[in-house]
Symmetry: C2
DNA sequence: TAGATTGTTAATCGATTAACAATC
DNA sequence: TAGATTGTTAATCGATTAACAATC
């Protein structure tokens, strides 16, 4: 998952933009282009060109060239490496219901360096089955299996009410990072990384932006 | 969707935290509590107490009382009103596959003031069916139906390759806000609000946080 | 009253943007 | 060479946090 030297100093904001750069650069590469300017990237992605240059400078091993811009292939390699997409990390998924299925089926997490090695659920209908080849185990097995599999990342896609319990089971088994799709606040020690995928927050921001746009029109 | 007077001046960061406050406050209310201090909220939600007070001050109609704190019921009402959860807005969903199903089934968007009135897909197997009572129409109908239904919000849950086309069809029909779950950059006019649900970005941030934690340990 | 908690002003922090010299 | 584009330094902007007087 990236290189130790790079862990520090790169801002969260920058890290959050890297996947978008990567997607964009891959598109350009596919379209047969070899180099690209920060100005072009900025325009297409609706960012500021200085910001783009700063972001790239932080993670890139090769400098851009005046007049030419950046080597697309180099940037792609650098971002892949920085984000750790080269080497895959194991993860488990808890909650094999609708959202769990969608997550496994949809995202192609492998591309993001994530390999889901096991899923868990409480439903007897699901236990023993597989989703896209991933075996589903009983939720009661979480701690034991996570420990045995030595997994550090857990994805929570269970109903709100079960989220905390699941989080506790995961961390008891040694999980150190939790990607939480349940709209519940998790109470966990500070040395566990948590990323809440808060749909309500996203929607709130979108709604307000819409209200603003409509308001400015009249 | 909230009140016009309130559209301005509340920062995106604050808006993004409001749903978490709301969930938390509802929990407390359910637990039978009547008042709460910013200190307590901050501690439980791992925020700064001043930040909590500022956030609440921005959207609340009632002040907190020294020594007592805030009336939980008042805060809940204020946040609900501010976020527009009182009055429902119509939306359409494009992409009735795994993720689309999960989104409709899972979130209970109604709670967030969103009413999905129609879904669209290209698959003949899905067209004519319903998801949780929401009828699925042919994707070719997007523009026409969105216009007729007068819908302002569109949710995109289609594969990457189809996302731009869908976005264009939605905006052609009059949609002004797009919630994009496809990991594709959308090119749209500035007067269309777009919120990208970028899983890759979230995961990148989580991964780096994990790497940081592990690194600091050794 | 004494002390917990508020609301506000000022200081800090971090991220974005503007200005500009360097250079291919 | 001339001009597009880079990388960097300084200025600005926005959000968080610290300090503190007001008050129930």
């Amino acid at each position: 998952m990236g290189n130790n030297k790079e862990i520090t100093n790169v801002s969260k904001a920058t890290i959050g933009r890297l996947p978008a750069y990567l997607r964009y650069l891959k598109e350009k590469e596919l379209a047969g282009e070899r180099t690209i300017s920060s100005t072009a990237i900025a325009e297409d992605l609706k960012l500021n060109a200085v910001q783009v240059r700063k972001d790239l400078a932080e993670i890139s091993t090769v400098a851009g060239k005046p007049k030419l811009g950046f080597e697309i292939a180099d940037l792609i390699a650098d971002i892949n490496r920085f984000l750790g997409y080269d080497n895959v990390t194991d993860a488990v998924l808890v909650g094999a219901g609708g959202l769990g299925h969608a997550l496994v089926g949809y995202g192609g997490f492998k591309n993001y360096g994530l390999n889901i090695v096991a899923a868990f659920d409480v439903s007897p209908d699901l236990i023993g089955k597989t989703i896209k080849g991933v075996p589903i185990f009983a939720a009661s097995e979480i701690t034991r299996l996570v420990r045995r599999l030595n997994v550090l990342i857990g994805i929570i896609a269970v109903p709100k009410a079960a989220a905390q319990e699941v989080a506790d089971a995961l961390t008891a088994g040694g999980v150190r990072a939790i990607w939480n799709f349940a709209s519940a606040h998790l109470n966990l020690p500070d040395d566990i990384a948590v990323k809440n995928e808060d749909m309500a927050a996203s929607l709130a921001i979108l709604s307000k932006r819409l209200a603003e746009i409509l308001y400015n029109e009249k």
